[in-house]
């Protein structure tokens, strides 16, 4: 028979949304279009004090106009907002807290505003929820941090609300899905409202309002590295990585973290990599943004597939012209998607390689420094051993087989391990030692009242450290003592490195746990810029056949 609901109304959220939209109804110009000048009024109509709000913005595209408008709302009505968003790199993101409009923050990446985040936590302007990885935060959008109103951005919209996010789709699908399917409100700023879209990335009935912003949204070419700035030392590290790790393990799938070392690796694939006979054996499947420094290797036929978190300014035409490699829509342009790329980077890829500011004597690493709450974005997703992984691959199995302690927990059952590599010069930015006794993250935890120090990659996940001294194969260490000795052995003239004992290092080299350039058969005098397939931005344009269009700040002609 019919069951009686114990609760009178199961549609309170929907009713609330309808009331908010009703308040905003007079502001709609045509279809779902709201004029830019009415944006503040729209936000005041649909947002209530205490709401959970998402402003789209990662380290690439930014819903910057909507963020500015949110700062202009009447704060006597709208205050104590709980911001849940991937990143807070814009001044306006933090101004919300300074202006008393927002109170609580859950995020993943602080970037340029890292110092202000720390300051605001300290003076109580920000109530910090937690610092997440992207996937973790996206997951919580569908659990306990579902946005009430989301402010997203797209290249184009039509008046039905359909969005074209194209090359920079990034986080939009995950934000819109979480918001809209829980009766939330989605507002999009777009560069252009048109009659017909190249393709529909977000269906119009998931979007409540579209606004043509006065200026195109801000986008940062964060993953572009000018080859002219790569040093010989970075090339030496890149050679060691290729020979001692990529080649040694036969790593075919991976994510390359941002930085000059990975750019150097990408640029010596067609030269040194080819000389080692590694073409077709490594780097065939990659989860990366469209790094311009990948162009020579792609052109030489090294890569079969690349899926991207986001786009990279200037790479639009090049990527669209290489559909065998990239994920291209029926309209002929790339669709990036951070949630899927992070998933692939976490579960499907065999290796993560990146850099860091500090590694402690145990092998924990962090880019956090005192007074800067930067967050780590996606690095921890990829820079860890995914415990849920079940599919085997050569590199994953070999890395696991080398683990002397594997049997202590799983007995005789074999298990692979993700390769997690940190490539660093022993003295990094500002000649500061990378190897330290204790991470600055501890000081930050104290000053910002965090429960735990923000560690980017935990020591138990880290399998390899590469420095100019050599490679430490941490996955081959049987215990913490050996691991610490291996770290000391490659830590150079840092205080940690100076505690290395010559006889201990000798034994580690004999055991293949530490390998110097000469152990690897690498002549350091060959590590010069001559190995780079492209030495400057102009060379990259030439390699691309004129398809790569570098942003103004990278042009030196």
């Amino acid at each position: 028979m019919t069951q009686h609901d114990t609760r009178k109304d199961w549609r309170t959220r929907a009713a609330d949304t309808a009331a908010r939209k009703e308040a905003a109804a007079p502001l709609f110009a045509k279809g779902k279009e709201v004029l830019a000048k009415d944006t503040v009024a729209l936000l005041e109509a649909v947002i209530r004090a205490g709401d959970v709000i998402n402003i789209e913005g990662n380290n690439q595209k930014q819903a910057d106009f909507l963020a500015d408008c949110l700062n202009q709302v009447d704060k006597s009505k709208i205050h104590d907002l709980h911001m849940v968003q991937s990143a807070v790199p814009l001044k306006s993101h933090l101004d919300l807290f300074d202006n008393g409009i927002a109170k609580k923050l859950d995020f993943a990446f602080g970037g340029p505003q890292a110092a202000r985040v720390a300051e605001f936590i300290d003076n109580g302007k920000i109530q910090l929820g937690a610092i997440h990885t992207y996937l973790e935060l996206f997951g919580r959008y569908f659990l306990d941090l579902t946005p009430r109103v989301s402010l997203v951005c797209a290249y184009k919209a039509d008046r039905k609300g359909n969005l074209y996010t194209g090359f920079n789709t990034e986080d939009t699908p995950v934000i819109v899905e979480a918001t809209k399917f829980k009766d939330g409100i989605v507002i999009a700023q777009v560069n252009e409202i048109v009659d017909e879209l190249p393709r529909v990335d977000i269906p119009g009935d998931w979007v409540d309002a579209v606004i043509e912003s006065p200026k195109p949204f801000f986008i940062e070419p964060l993953f572009t590295r000018d080859p002219a700035n790569i040093t010989d030392n970075q090339i030496l590290l890149a050679m060691m990585c290729l020979k001692g790790i990529y080649g040694e393990y036969g790593v075919t799938s991976m994510n390359h973290g941002i930085g000059f070392l990975t750019s150097a690796i990408e640029l010596i694939l067609p030269t040194y990599g080819a000389e080692l006979g590694l073409k077709g054996k490594i780097c065939t499947h990659m989860i990366i943004n469209p790094h311009p420094t990948m162009i020579p290797a792609i052109e030489e036929g090294w890569v079969e597939a690349i899926h991207c978190f986001g786009g990279e300014l200037g790479m639009e035409d090049y990527v669209a012209s290489r559909p065998d490699v990239f994920f291209i829509g029926p309209d002929g342009t790339l669709r990036s998607n951070r949630a899927f790329a992070q998933t692939a980077g976490h579960y499907a890829a065999d290796m993560f390689i990146g850099g860091t500011l500090q590694i402690d004597k145990y092998g924990n690493s962090s880019t956090a420094t005192a007074g800067r709450v930067a967050g780590f974005g996606g690095a921890p997703n990829m820079g860890c051993d995914p415990k849920g992984r079940r599919h085997p691959s050569g590199a994953w199995l070999k890395c696991g087989e080398e683990l002397p302690s594997l049997d202590s927990l799983t007995g005789s059952v074999p298990r692979g391990k993700r390769l997690v590599v940190q490539g660093v010069e022993t003295f990094g930015e500002g000649r500061k030692p990378v190897f330290v006794d204790e991470l600055d993250a501890w000081k930050l935890a104290k000053s910002a009242n965090l429960d735990i120090p923000p560690v980017m990659i935990y020591g138990d996940d880290l399998t390899h450290i590469v420095t100019e001294e050599g490679i430490a194969y941490l996955n081959r260490c049987k215990d913490m003592e050996t691991r610490m000795a291996a770290i000391r052995a490659v830590a150079g003239f840092t205080e940690i490195g100076l505690t290395a004992k010559p006889e201990e290092t000798k034994a580690l080299r004999e055991a293949g746990i530490v390998k110097t350039p000469s152990d690897l058969g690498i002549d350091p005098s060959r590590a010069t810029r001559d190995l780079l397939a492209a030495k400057n931005m102009r060379d990259l344009v030439t390699w691309s056949g004129g398809l790569y269009n570098p942003p103004a700040r990278f042009r030196n002609w």
Binding site: A228, R529, D530, K535, N536, R538, V541, T542, G546, A552, R553, F554, R555, N556, W557
Partner: protein, 318 residues
């Protein structure tokens, strides 16, 4: 020791001051004077507790191209931005002075000497001008270099080559402008006030120094070639620069006089016509001027490959 043969096809932009000095003259002919083993270092930097360089960031010496003795000055941008202080300036002054004295002795001894056998000076610029640590001494050094350029005029041709990372800016921008001929690559930059200083003084709206494309199309080789501020534009290899120098080296001084952009009433007239054109046009961007010079697809000239640029570009004449 640098292998001269390997050096020739390499990027001039990437080459160190010493490699440029060696590579710009004939194989094996370069002898460094007041080099790092002589350890002539800046007394000012030492007082300030800063690191010194044993060559003070400037390589000087003599080599040969064919029958022409070539006095070379080459600035190193990696040492304090190629800035010129007391010691580096003195090395420049004395190199030019030695070239002039050598010329005078030679001509006195051998009156029948051909143009090809008379010395030239080549300056490879990579500098922002005065080394601020050395303030007055650095400024004085600039004045003394200018003085030597005037003394060399009509006797010893001075050729500027500009294609290194820092470019040629500040007081050394004046010095470069006062040479007889200027050779640039598209990666070279030439100007007086550097981009960052313009932004600092006049604001980002006036000049956005972080917009490298803007910086290059305002101060870079392609623009300077169209404007006539540079006489020659060459590929970015040591060899291309050397070959252009080699073509110029045997020419008579009268030819060098003709290449000058300033230094006579007629040249000044021409410069004034350029100023008048700028006042009349009020260009918003360098590309406007390129169009005025008769380049139909002026914006397209920014990105076309070098060879295509050279075959299609029209240079401004007023």
């Amino acid at each position: 020791m640098t292998n001269w043969q390997n050096l020739q096809p390499r990027s001039f932009l990437e080459a160190s001051a010493r490699d440029r000095a060696i590579g710009l003259v004939d194989e094996g002919s370069f002898t460094e004077l007041a080099g790092p083993f002589d350890r002539v270092t800046s007394p000012h930097l030492e007082l300030l507790g800063d690191a010194v360089a044993f060559d003070d960031g400037i390589v000087t010496g003599i080599g040969r191209i064919g029958k022409t003795p070539v006095f070379v000055i080459s600035q190193e941008g990696k040492f304090i931005g190629g800035s010129v202080g007391e010691i580096g300036g003195a090395k420049m002054v004395n190199t030019i002075k030695t070239a002039i004295d050598f010329h005078d002795d030679l001509v006195a001894k051998y009156p029948d000497l051909t143009d090809e056998e008379k010395p030239v000076v080549v300056i490879s610029f990579e500098t922002g001008g005065v080394r601020l640590h050395e303030a007055n001494a650095g400024l004085l050094a600039h004045a003394e270099v200018m003085d030597q350029l005037q003394k060399a005029r009509g006797k010893v041709p001075v050729i500027a080559v500009i294609g290194s990372k820092v470019g040629g800016f500040g007081g050394m921008g004046f010095v470069a402008a006062a040479t007889d001929a200027i050779i640039m690559s598209e990666f070279g930059r030439l100007g007086l006030t550097g981009p960052e200083v313009i932004e600092q003084e006049m604001g980002k709206e006036e000049f956005d120094a972080s917009d490298r494309a803007l910086v290059y199309r305002t101060t870079g080789g392609r623009h300077k070639y169209i404007m006539g501020d540079a006489n020659f534009l060459v590929q970015d290899t040591v060899e291309a620069f050397r070959k252009q120098v080699a073509e110029l080296a045997p020419l008579p001084v009268a030819d060098f006089e003709a290449m000058r952009r300033i230094g006579s009433p007629e040249k000044v007239e021409n410069q004034l016509r350029l100023v008048a054109l700028a006042a009349e046009m009020q260009p918003k961007d360098a590309v406007d001027v390129w169009a005025k010079a008769g380049n139909e697809n002026a914006a397209g000239l920014l990105d076309v490959p070098f060879a295509e640029f050279m075959s299609t570009v029209k240079r401004l004449s007023v």
